[in-house]
């Protein structure tokens, strides 16, 4: 059962992620002036810690831009974006990188594994930034690969894996540092139905068992249905919010 809060901005009492008048403008130089593209107009948004959120909306509605801002890999033009105690809008690039290493795992639609590294080495990458020793890094990477059911593919290169397996390795890489926030951009977009289901089950598990907050951009209504909160964006603003009633 779904509860509808159109344009609601204060759903959670203890919002962990808070966006206030979040605006992103891209400026494109043209021959006869500058064209402004505004994927996010003045977005207000709150997401509770531990929530599983799907972001939906037509192309150009600002979903991916919002995900980039949440990941700290793009900078807002104005407004505020708080995640916990951090206002990402005012953080410098290096501080964002350090924050990202601890707090965020990102899953891309096109997997984005490093092709010259094995599955194990790809998963181990985020741990290279931690103070963990080699043995602990190996244990954690193998544990993450076991979680996604690919411990036996640790030595395989991405080119030796199927699309579904590559995405599961990408998930293992995203969770290996045990970040509290998992961002997924169309994680099932390039997968067949069976692989997509496996990936969604994994996300369910991570949300329920590991209490990870998940924000997932998707066009797939079946994928969106797995989320507890569904946010619909239109023209850079939050158009509708739906919450599954337990």
């Amino acid at each position: 059962m779904i509860h509808d809060h159109a344009k609601s901005t204060s759903v959670a009492n203890h919002a962990w992620i808070r966006a206030r008048k979040l605006r992103k403008v891209y400026r494109k130089a043209l021959r006869d002036g500058v064209q402004e593209i505004v994927p996010l107009a003045a977005l207000d948004l709150e997401i509770a810690r531990g929530d599983f959120v799907s972001l939906m909306g037509p192309s150009g509605s600002g979903k991916t831009t919002l995900l980039n801002l949440l990941a700290g890999i793009d900078a807002a033009t104005s407004g505020e974006l708080w995640i916990g105690d951090h206002n990402l809008v005012h953080m410098r690039r290096d501080a964002l990188a350090a924050w990202r290493a601890k707090e965020v795992g990102i899953i891309f639609q096109s997997y984005n594994l490093v092709p010259v590294l094995t599955a194990f080495e790809n998963v181990e990458l985020p741990l290279l930034l931690s103070p963990l020793g080699r043995r602990e890094r190996t244990e954690r990477a193998m544990e993450a690969l076991t979680t996604v059911g690919l411990a036996d593919r640790a030595g395989h290169f991405p080119s030796q894996l199927s699309g579904g397996q590559e995405q599961r390795v990408a998930i293992a890489r995203a969770i290996v540092a045990r970040p509290p926030l998992l961002l997924a951009d169309e994680p099932t977009g390039d997968l067949d139905r069976e692989s997509a289901e496996l990936v969604l089950q994994l996300l369910d598990q991570l949300n329920e068992r590991e209490k990870m907050t998940i924000v997932m951009v998707t066009h797939d209504p079946r994928a969106a249905a797995r989320a507890r909160t569904r946010l619909f964006l239109e023209k850079g603003e939050l158009a509708r919010r739906e919450e599954a009633v337990p």
């Binding site: 991916t64 831009t65 995900l67 980039n68 990941a71 890999i73 793009d74 690039r93 290096d94 990188a97 350090a98 990202r100 290493a101 601890k102 990102i106 891309f108 096109s110 984005n112 594994l113 490093v114 092709p115 010259v116 590294l117 080495e121 990458l125 985020p126 290279l128 930034l129 103070p131 890489r173 951009d185």
Partner: protein, 388 residues
């Protein structure tokens, strides 16, 4: 603050990623190795020229040549001058010497025969040469005996007892000797009367030059001037120079070649710069996503720049190791030398040359990676991951 642990790990990661891109690695390293080979070889030519021709304040040896003659075949001075030179103040010893060369012009394989009197062999050669095989006694006992310099023996694969012919002179190797100077290492000493006779001259008649040792290095020029003054109005006026100044004049062509080769060395360094920069820039175009992925994971911009610099250093160092190492081996076992008018310039490998080549390649390689490293570290992450 940059974490040292992260620097070490990201450096190791960069090298691992480089090793896995084999085609790029092999092609770039081969190019750098070729350039580094040229650079190292040129260094050895330059070092050889310097060793043979650079003046030193400690020099005590003068070469007395026939004035206005530049080739051993045309320099003829009476052997009888020896006593008059010996009487000049400041002269410690004097040795008449007949020179015969297999090729007067600049050549890579020249044999220089040096005819010395038996008395001078005992007095001078015993000091200058370290006999490794055979003996001075054997040399003196045989009329056609030859004391062969170690570099020449290795180049021609000569052993004691071998007979060989060059420039119409046939000798038997009576000893093989090492020496500090390149001229001695590459000479073939024979007895003066034997060489004079072999060349169709009169024994005790004329010689090519005198080697004069002065007692005080500071008197070198004064003694040279005194010798030339003494014979200025004689039938065979002389021109006296320090041994290295003499070598520099005789090997003028080689010095010119060496200067030109110096330009090639800079060209080799430029090639290394271009190769590394090209390899890095091209690979960055294809690997923008890789670096964006690393940044999305939390790698900071300085770490990305560091990884690219490590990669550039790895490529250039690997190429330099192969190129400079091969050049050292070729020069060590090839025993190359360039002779002109009886003066020999050796191309000798040295640890300093190897180190200079490696350092030059490394510095140039890292410099070539610097701008691409900065550019790559500043690229947008979102566009790199195609997240946008």
């Amino acid at each position: 603050m940059i974490d040292l642990n992260v620097l070490v790990r990201s450096g190791a990661l960069a090298l691992r990623m480089l090793m896995r891109s084999r085609v790029r690695l092999v092609l770039t390293v081969l190019g750098i190795a070729t350039a580094s080979f040229l650079f190292t070889a040129e260094r050895s030519v330059r070092d050889g020229v310097r060793e043979a021709t650079q003046a030193s304040a400690q020099e005590t040896r003068l070469i007395v040549y026939r004035a206005n003659r530049f080739c051993p075949f045309t320099s003829r001075v009476p052997e009888a001058y020896v006593d008059e030179i010996a009487r000049i103040d400041g002269v410690a010893s004097v040795a008449p010497m007949q020179i015969a060369v297999s090729n007067c012009r600049a050549s890579l394989d020249v044999i220089v025969f040096r005819g010395v009197r038996a008395i001078d062999a005992e007095r001078i050669l015993a000091k200058r040469l370290r006999i490794k095989e055979g003996s001075l006694a054997d040399f003196l006992a045989r009329g056609d005996g030859a004391l062969v310099g170690s570099a020449l023996a290795e180049r021609r694969n000569l052993r004691v007892g071998d007979r060989f012919n060059s420039a119409g002179v046939t000798v038997t190797v009576a000893g093989i000797a090492d020496a500090d100077g390149p001229q001695d290492r590459n000479a073939c000493y024979v007895q003066l009367p034997f060489l004079q006779s072999a060349l169709g001259g009169i024994i005790g008649g004329e010689v090519t030059q005198f080697e004069v040792e002065v007692s005080d290095p500071s008197e070198l020029q004064a003694v040279a001037a005194a010798i030339d003054r003494r014979f200025a109005n004689d039938r065979a006026p002389t021109s006296t120079r320090s041994e290295r100044a003499f070598a520099a004049r005789a090997a003028e062509d080689i010095v010119t070649i060496s200067r030109f080769a110096g330009l090639l060395a800079y060209g080799a360094l430029a090639a290394i710069f271009a190769l590394v920069a090209n390899a890095i820039v091209l690979s960055l175009e294809g690997r923008a996503r890789e670096f964006a992925i690393l940044q999305s994971i939390g790698f900071r911009a300085p770490s990305i720049a560091w990884m690219i610099l490590v990669e550039a250093a790895g490529l250039s160092l690997c190429g330099a190791l192969i190129g400079a190492g091969t050049a050292q081996l070729v020069l060590t076992f090839g025993h190359f030398g360039l002779g002109a008018e009886g003066v020999l310039v050796e191309f000798r490998p040295s640890l300093a040359g190897l180190t200079t080549s490696m350092l030059a390649s490394l510095l140039v390689g890292v410099a070539a990676g610097f701008v691409p490293a900065i550019l790559a570290s500043r690229r947008g992450i979102a566009e790199g991951t195609r997240l946008a």
